[in-house]
């Protein structure tokens, strides 16, 4: 049980393509889901059964329509919020964004683009609570 679902959310196709490659190489997941649009990703999450699985979002911040912060805000309201984690992957090197990210409980990491395979290998999810 307790499988891990990896979801890449980024509006840039090339970046998505790169990140897919890295996720597979890092053996984090053999089949990551991809969304170029934050709202679609959220709808998909809503449709999932979260009882026996956890999700890890590789989340871009700067996106049109619904940006990374808005997705995090929306997740906070969801009943399954405790089953979803996020690693921010942003091209921003603005320290304000780093600080802001720490205020969300789902956020377990902050990576600056370009990311490296090793950085994904080192990802550790918090222990499952009994």
């Amino acid at each position: 049980m307790n499988s891990l679902r990896v979801i890449i959310i980024d509006d840039d196709p090339i970046t998505v393509w790169l990140h897919q490659l890295f996720v597979k190489q890092s053996e984090l997941s053999t089949d990551p889901l991809v969304f170029l649009n934050g709202l679609e990703a959220l709808h998909h999450l809503d449709s999932l059964d979260h009882l026996n699985s956890r999700s890890l979002l590789l989340l871009d911040l700067n996106m049109p329509n619904m940006n990374g912060w808005e997705i995090l805000e929306a997740l906070n309201m969801r009943s399954y919020a405790g089953q979803v984690f996020a690693i921010i992957i942003s091209s921003s090197i603005d320290t304000k964004d780093h600080k802001k990210a720490k205020t969300y409980k789902q956020v377990i990491g902050y990576l600056e683009k370009p990311i490296k395979v090793n950085e994904l290998r080192n990802v550790m999810l918090p222990d499952v609570q009994a």
């Binding site: 393509w17 790169l18 490659l21 700067n62 603005d94 990311i115």
Partner: protein, 347 residues
């Protein structure tokens, strides 16, 4: 000991000079005297010796006291000191005496009543002292006023006053200019003022002025006016209410400072700041995106032995990222150029 009084005597009869001097000595006047009998000499001595008192006979062979009075008056205006002019003469008609006083003589003494002369001199000197004060005071006021006018003009700073007892409105020269008029162009009223206030500011300002007159002492405010030529100006103002003992408002006064230019500069700086914040944002977010992509792609190429296969797949995204980076950098350059300009230009 008091300084002797310097007397300039316009007299052609040596005997009369003797009589006058004797009378002055008897009257206890300490003096030095110089006698002159011609118009030329009178004028010259007036400026040279600067007498304290002038005693003049009415008629001389080529000169008379009316002429002398004209010279004397001109002299007083120039040096701004009053010098008593006393006519000492044989019998003259009442009309002539009145004429002399009108022309500026301070007193007249008949030669057969010289006893009155010492007292007349003392009197005239006292009066001249007061008159001199007045002349100097007036001079000071005039020069202060000139300074104030100049200061107002330089600083675009106009003052105004409303007297509630007479209902009279008074604007300083610069207040007229701020409202687009030449000083004194028109008789101003409260309506003149209100009509020039920008319609968007008129009601609130009117209310604030009414409130201040009723309950306040002063009221600093900022509003816009539309001057005679239709130009919108920003005005910084302060109203002040003067009240009588019953606390009833009797006067409203204030100043208007034309701050249009400062406002424009502040807005230009605010616009520049906005652009700089934008540029900083673009640099940290937008520039980094294609750059990060380029770096990511190159990283993969570097770590992979199968170059041939990847190169074909990668050249397109690499080129696209490079072009995107280029267009963002061009956008920053355009924004930076806009910051250099003075006028905000909206795209």
């Amino acid at each position: 000991m008091t300084k002797p009084i310097k007397i300039l005597m316009l007299e052609d009869t040596q005997e009369d000079v003797y009589l006058i001097e004797r009378e002055l000595k008897q009257g206890g006047i300490i003096f030095t005297s110089t006698v002159v009998a011609t118009g030329e000499g009178f004028k010259q001595l007036l400026y040279e010796m600067k007498p304290d008192v002038i005693l003049a006979d009415h008629s001389l062979p080529q000169f008379n006291s009316i002429e002398a009075l004209k010279i004397h008056q001109q002299y007083e205006l120039e040096i701004k000191i009053a010098v008593p002019f006393i006519l000492v003469t044989g019998s003259v008609s009442e009309e002539f005496a009145a004429q002399c006083i009108k022309s500026g003589a301070d007193d007249y003494i008949l030669k057969d009543r010289l006893k009155r002369l010492p007292a007349a001199i003392c009197n005239a000197l006292d009066k001249a002292g007061i008159e001199g004060e007045r002349l100097r005071f007036l001079d000071e006021i005039i020069s202060n006023e000139a300074m104030m006018r100049q200061a107002e003009q330089l600083a675009h700073f106009g003052s105004w006053q409303v007297d509630f007892l007479t209902g009279r409105h008074k604007w300083s020269d610069e207040t007229y200019r701020i409202f687009g008029y030449e000083p004194g162009d028109l008789q101003v009223t409260y309506e003149t003022f209100l009509n020039h206030i920008h319609p968007a500011d008129r009601q609130s300002l009117k209310k604030a002025i009414d409130e201040t007159i009723l309950h306040g002492d002063s009221y600093p405010c900022e509003f816009r006016i539309i001057d005679k030529t239709g130009k919108v100006k920003h005005i910084l103002s302060n109203l002040q209410v003067k009240r009588n003992r019953e606390r009833v408002a009797i006067q409203l006064s204030g100043f208007n400072l034309d701050i249009t230019e400062q406002k424009r500069q502040t807005e230009a700086i605010a616009f520049q700041n906005e652009q700089l914040v934008d540029i900083a944002w673009i640099q940290s977010h937008e520039v980094r995106a294609p750059l990060a992509r380029l770096m990511g792609l190159v990283n993969i190429l570097e770590g992979n032995k199968d170059h041939e296969k990847y190169c074909k797949e990668f050249w397109k995204p690499l080129l696209e990222s490079a072009h995107e980076l280029d267009s963002i950098i061009r956008k920053i350059v355009r924004k930076t150029e806009a910051v250099g300009g003075t006028e905000p230009s909206h795209e």
